[in-house]
């Protein structure tokens, strides 16, 4: 138990320090929110129509920013050896790394997302749903991004590989989340989108640790 808490503390502290921590992800979201009206034109009508969608895509990309090097530093400095020989299986280690990442980057992003969406013209009443969608989506993004990061270990140009591996996996949660928010705004059924997103996030959280642990073991051998 003590080992688990030690790992949780370490991962949160590393996620906080890694590449600017939550400021980088939230800053990226803020940058997209600022630039979108400049590119799409200031008329409130068309902007409001795409506000939630733009925010959602920006959030998906922002949550991947810090994930690329999730395992790489530990691999390069030898800490992955220590993590692999510890009292907890690598699957748990990988899950803790992703959850810490979500806590430090995903949760602040989920709180910032409705502000960004409302600033672009999304209805205020959608705020709670946007938080829920962003939080659930963030879990899926963290675990999928972590899988890409683990698979890219020990390969040159890993960053490119992460994008190629992770992008197709990101499509379903982006569709489900977009459907939930869009449906809610237009007064259509939206609960199914949220439920599917939740199911996808849970499946990612349940399966990705095995993929990550396997990829790490492969990189260590």
């Amino acid at each position: 138990m003590s080992a688990l808490w030690a790992l949780v503390e370490r991962e949160i502290s590393l996620a906080w320090g890694r590449g600017g921590g939550p400021l980088l992800a939230v800053g990226f979201l803020a940058a997209v929110t600022t630039l979108a009206p400049l590119a799409l034109g200031p008329a409130p009508g068309p902007l409001a129509a795409v506000a939630a969608g733009v925010t959602w895509v920006a959030l998906a990309l922002a949550s991947l920013l810090a994930l690329e090097r999730l395992f790489e530093r530990d691999f390069e400095d030898g800490a992955l050896d220590l993590l692999a020989l510890g009292p907890l299986p690598l699957e748990i280690v990988a899950a803790v790394k992703c959850l810490a990442q979500w806590l430090v980057n995903g949760a602040p992003l989920a709180l910032a997302a409705p502000i960004a969406a409302i600033a672009l013209g999304a209805p205020v009443r959608a705020a709670l749903l946007i938080i829920a969608v962003s939080a659930l989506g963030g879990i899926a993004f963290a675990f999928l991004g972590g899988t890409g990061a683990a698979l890219a270990l020990a390969s040159r140009r890993g960053g490119l590989l992460v994008a190629v591996i992770v992008l197709p996996l990101l499509i379903p949660p982006v569709i489900f989340g977009g459907a939930a928010i869009g449906g809610f705004e237009q007064g259509l059924p939206w609960l199914s989108g949220l439920a599917l997103l939740g199911a996808y996030a849970l499946a990612a959280a349940a399966l990705a640790p095995f993929a990550m642990a396997g990829a790490c073991r492969n990189a260590l051998s």
């Binding site: 003590s2 080992a3 808490w5 030690a6 790992l7 503390e9 370490r10 502290s13 590393l14 320090g17 530093r73 390069e76 400095d77 030898g78 800490a79 050896d81 220590l82 993590l83 692999a84 020989l85 510890g86 009292p87 073991r217 260590l220 051998s221």
Partner: protein, 201 residues
């Protein structure tokens, strides 16, 4: 607690290249084994095969005194590779406390071990500001903080000064005296009595 390490007919292959073939030795509690061989002969690969990271092409590694190999590796092994496994962005104190807790000791034991290794004054510095020798001492802290019977060491003395080598020699003898085992890949002779096993060639 591991009472003996048995390496039996071990062959390790990296890609197409066979590093060594049919290597056998046995180390009992209280014994140190120095692995010697040219650069690239496979000393590190042998250590990683014992630690379970590399699947050998033939032969096997077994541990006596543990339920199974996995339990032996997770609960009774310390592996210190030629990388120190420290995060440069964190303070030495954060790193020794994390490493010690991860392998089953607590913060107090980590700090006592740091004092033993003579690095208590460096604990509040970021790891990036430490010299290679100081980093190695910091990395050795977990071996002293948490009692584990088998030490797998890869060039443990390389960056250390003479005083630190003598100190590590003393810590190694104490470990052997408690019934521990040491398997170390070295170029310089170990500062303790050790059996030599030639790897490769």
């Amino acid at each position: 607690m591991i009472t003996a390490l048995d390496v039996c007919g071990l062959s390790v292959q990296r890609g197409e290249r066979v590093l060594f073939r049919d290597l056998s030795f046995r180390a009992r509690a209280g014994e140190a084994v120095a692995l010697v061989g040219a650069n690239g002969a496979g000393k590190t690969s042998l250590l990683r095969a014992v630690a379970g990271f590399i699947t050998p092409a033939a032969g096997r590694v077994s541990f006596e005194g543990a339920r199974d190999a996995d339990e032996a590796r997770r609960a009774h092994c310390h592996l210190l590779g030629h990388l120190d496994g420290l995060k440069t962005s964190r303070s030495a104190r954060e790193e020794v406390v994390f490493q010690a807790r991860w392998v089953g000791a607590d913060a107090a034991r980590a700090l006592a071990a740091a004092r033993r290794l003579g690095v208590e004054r460096q604990l509040d510095l970021d790891v990036r500001r430490l010299s290679a020798g100081q980093r190695r001492r910091i990395a050795l802290v977990r071996l002293i903080a948490a009692e584990r019977s088998l030490w797998l060491l890869d060039e443990p003395l390389a960056p250390l000064d003479l005083a630190a080598r003598a100190l590590v020699g003393k810590l190694m003898s104490e470990h052997l005296g408690r019934g521990g085992l040491i398997l170390a890949a070295v170029h310089d002779p170990l500062p303790i009595a050790a059996r030599t096993v030639q790897v490769g060639a």
